[in-house]
Amino acid sequence: MSESERKDTPEQAEFRAYCRDWLRDNHPGESPVRLPQSPIEIMTEPQLHWLQAWQKAAYDAGLVGCDYPEAVGGGGRKDCQRVANEEMLAARTPFLPNVIGLGMAAPTLFYHAQEPLKERLLPRLLSGEDIWCQGFSEPGAGSDLASVQTFAERRGDRWVINGHKVWTSLAHFAEWMILLLRTDKSHKYDGLSYFVVPIRSALGKGVTVRPLIKITGETGFNEVIFEDLEVDDSYRLDELGKGWQVAMTTLLHERGGGELVTPRSGGLTSKTSFSPTARNLRTLAQETPRGNGTAADDPLLRDRIVRQFIREEALQQNQRRSRVPALQDHPMRLQLQYKLLISELAQDTARLGVEVAGPASTLYLADEHAPTGGQWPLAYMNSYGMTIAAGTSEIQRNILGERVLGLAKSK
């Protein structure tokens, strides 16, 4: 019996057994194409289509979106997504490609959209048929998100949008975007509104998507430029001027603090893509010659590798403890730490991997002699995406200091 099973309700227990059976027979196996380290680095159509097929299969089987109501394409279950996630994790399935849709757009639609819009958009979002992206950051609005300048001008029941969004992961594959923009220039926060926008159908007709290249050489995120794009007022979420509040719902779920559990599959232990984990570090050290033995014999590296094992365990146990009210002082204290800790942990583990690999860490993806296929320097560079995107580590520390510790706002 696994750790979580002890507390399963009868519905959960039955669903868990179902998931386990289904996964045993329907695991998609190894990908025929090299997969990136996370969904936001999907670069090619073959990668995308293989992963979309997996999401669709998992959705059709009821493992994705199971806690959403049936009316919006969900499974109508209660507290079962966590069960499905645990079983997918245990089965080491590939990740779900529609990561922005599932983690950010879906809960935002759920809490802020009108019923007809939910019923129209959520089924194809949950199934992965429609990929979603997020239009929040701009060249002048990074950490200071509320200073977005993308503007929508009202013309009757329509809005005309002009502006420039950046770091929009998956925009090159996305049908839809969640879009934070300005409808009033005289108020910083209260001048913001929130829309969903069909971008794929508008490519070349008011929407331009240009790939941005990351320091790794990979693409995966984009600039999106709006030039007189017209959208209907029915695509607005919640009231005019309430965009900041809607965006908070999005960010809350992004930071793992929402009520609705995001469907997740794979991740750290997936066998289909590489992640900078302590276990992988150990394997690398044991395979790296050093002196008369291996790097795993070096007392300094042993100490540092063990530190990463401890931090990984601590993060897992933080998540476990976040569900035990008697062992917490402040309800958001552990949840709001997650993004900061996981990103810095991954960065430090990846960096240590580069050190463990030694001179061969200079070798990159296409070098036949690169340890672990050059994934360690790739992961180290990508880790800065984690500590920068979705609120830099500096912003995360502000949030924690202000919301959890009650210290004065730094801005």
Binding site: V306, A314, Q317, D329, E394, G401, L407
Partner: protein
């Protein structure tokens, strides 16, 4: 065996933790603690080892000495997570006294499965402590410099915790069978306690010398008993450190909210704010790891050793960091004797090194996780 999701920390545990918090807050809030243990600041003064001996009967009455003792030996047989909750509050109060030493002793005795009267004495309220380290500070009981011959002890045990407060001693001594456990009164004939002068004002430490002191052998394999009990000792010490770390965090946060410089509360400045956030995340990591280790003691004994090493290693680094930041963020006032932060700073330094520092525990973890180096 696997662990319950909630660490097995149920209502009974929460009740115990809550009542402990209230007990410490009522009977020895930090101002009275300071008046009690920090009365003489002279840097060359001997350690006074002051404590509220008058509170001991109440603590016995609450069953605290009997928590970890099996019901068969007259104890309450509570899970380790319950004891960890108590010790977290004990640390938050920087409570002085022999409770932690007594609980530690009860774990070794329980592991020795002695069937002797020793456990019953503790269950009935006798305080006790362990004597096993040698002069070089080895925490390996097998290195004990005490020998036993015909039930009589000779030699000296060092780094004994609370020797002036504990009424009984459980001694690891080299004897014919290997390492034996011996039980005697700390004021028995042939026993001399030489107190150390230590930095920590909330603790007592000393050397205990034995000169043909008569002692009762307990259990069979002393080394095995110690090894079986050490994960519990480390975990409970980590709990004390986490409680103290949370006090350091909250007290410094309060100061950063109240103190103004440049017309702003200190906490406005990211240099202070971000340090405090880092203290919080480290306290939380250590806290999660300690309940994980405690739960393993109760439900997953095959992983208890590994998880206890993690808990103490994490707590040691957290304590060092939280202590440094608590003084630094208090600025000048934090560097004075009258400000309470030094009590916790010193207690944490003591706890950090006690029963193995971070590097020591990580070296042992490396042998488990990466294999021993030939």
């Amino acid at each position: 065996m696997t662990q319950p999701t909630n660490f097995g920390f149920g209502d009974e545990c929460a009740l115990l933790k809550d009542s402990a918090r209230k007990f410490f807050a009522e009977h020895l809030p930090v101002d009275r603690l300071h008046a009690l243990v920090a009365a003489n600041p002279a840097p060359e003064a001997a350690s006074a080892a002051a404590w509220r001996e008058d509170l001991w009967p109440a603590m016995v009455e609450l069953g605290w000495t009997a928590l970890a003792i099996p019901e068969s030996a007259g104890g309450l047989g509570l899970p380790a997570v319950a004891v960890a909750g108590l010790m977290e509050e004990h640390g938050r109060a920087a409570f002085p006294g022999p409770l932690a030493a007594t609980l530690a002793t009860s774990y070794v005795l329980a592991a020795a499965d002695s069937g002797s009267a020793a456990l019953e004495e503790i269950a009935a309220g006798r305080s006790a402590t362990l004597a096993f380290a040698n002069a070089a500070g080895s925490w390996h009981p097998g290195d004990s410099a005490v020998t036993a011959k015909g039930g009589r002890l000779s030699g000296t045990a060092c780094f004994v915790q609370e020797p002036r407060k504990a009424e009984r001693l459980l001694v690891a001594a080299q004897d014919e069978s290997g390492l034996g456990l011996y039980w005697l009164a700390s004021d028995a004939e042939g026993v001399t306690v030489a107190p150390d002068t230590i930095v920590d004002l909330t603790r007592d430490q000393g050397r205990v010398s034995f000169d043909e002191a008569v002692a009762e052998p307990v259990g069979r394999n002393g080394l095995a008993a110690f090894h079986a009990a050490m994960p519990a000792l480390w975990t409970l010490l980590a709990a004390d450190m986490v409680g103290a770390g949370e006090w350091q965090l909250q007290t410094t946060v309060e100061y950063a909210q109240a103190r103004k410089q440049f017309d702003r509360p200190l906490g406005f400045f990211q240099a202070v704010k971000h340090q405090l956030v880092d203290v919080m995340t480290r306290v939380d990591e250590s806290k999660s790891l300690l309940y994980n280790a405690a739960c393993a003691l109760d439900h997953e004994p095959e992983r208890a050793l590994q998880l206890a090493h993690m808990a103490k290693a994490s707590a040691a680094d957290m304590a060092a960091f939280a202590s440094g930041r608590s003084v630094q963020c208090h600025g000048g006032i934090g560097f004075t004797w009258e400000c309470y932060v030094h009590l916790f700073f010193k207690r944490q330094k003591h706890s950090e090194v006690l029963w193995g520092d971070g590097a020591w525990h990580r070296a042992r973890l490396a042998d488990i996780l990466l294999g021993e180096v030939a």
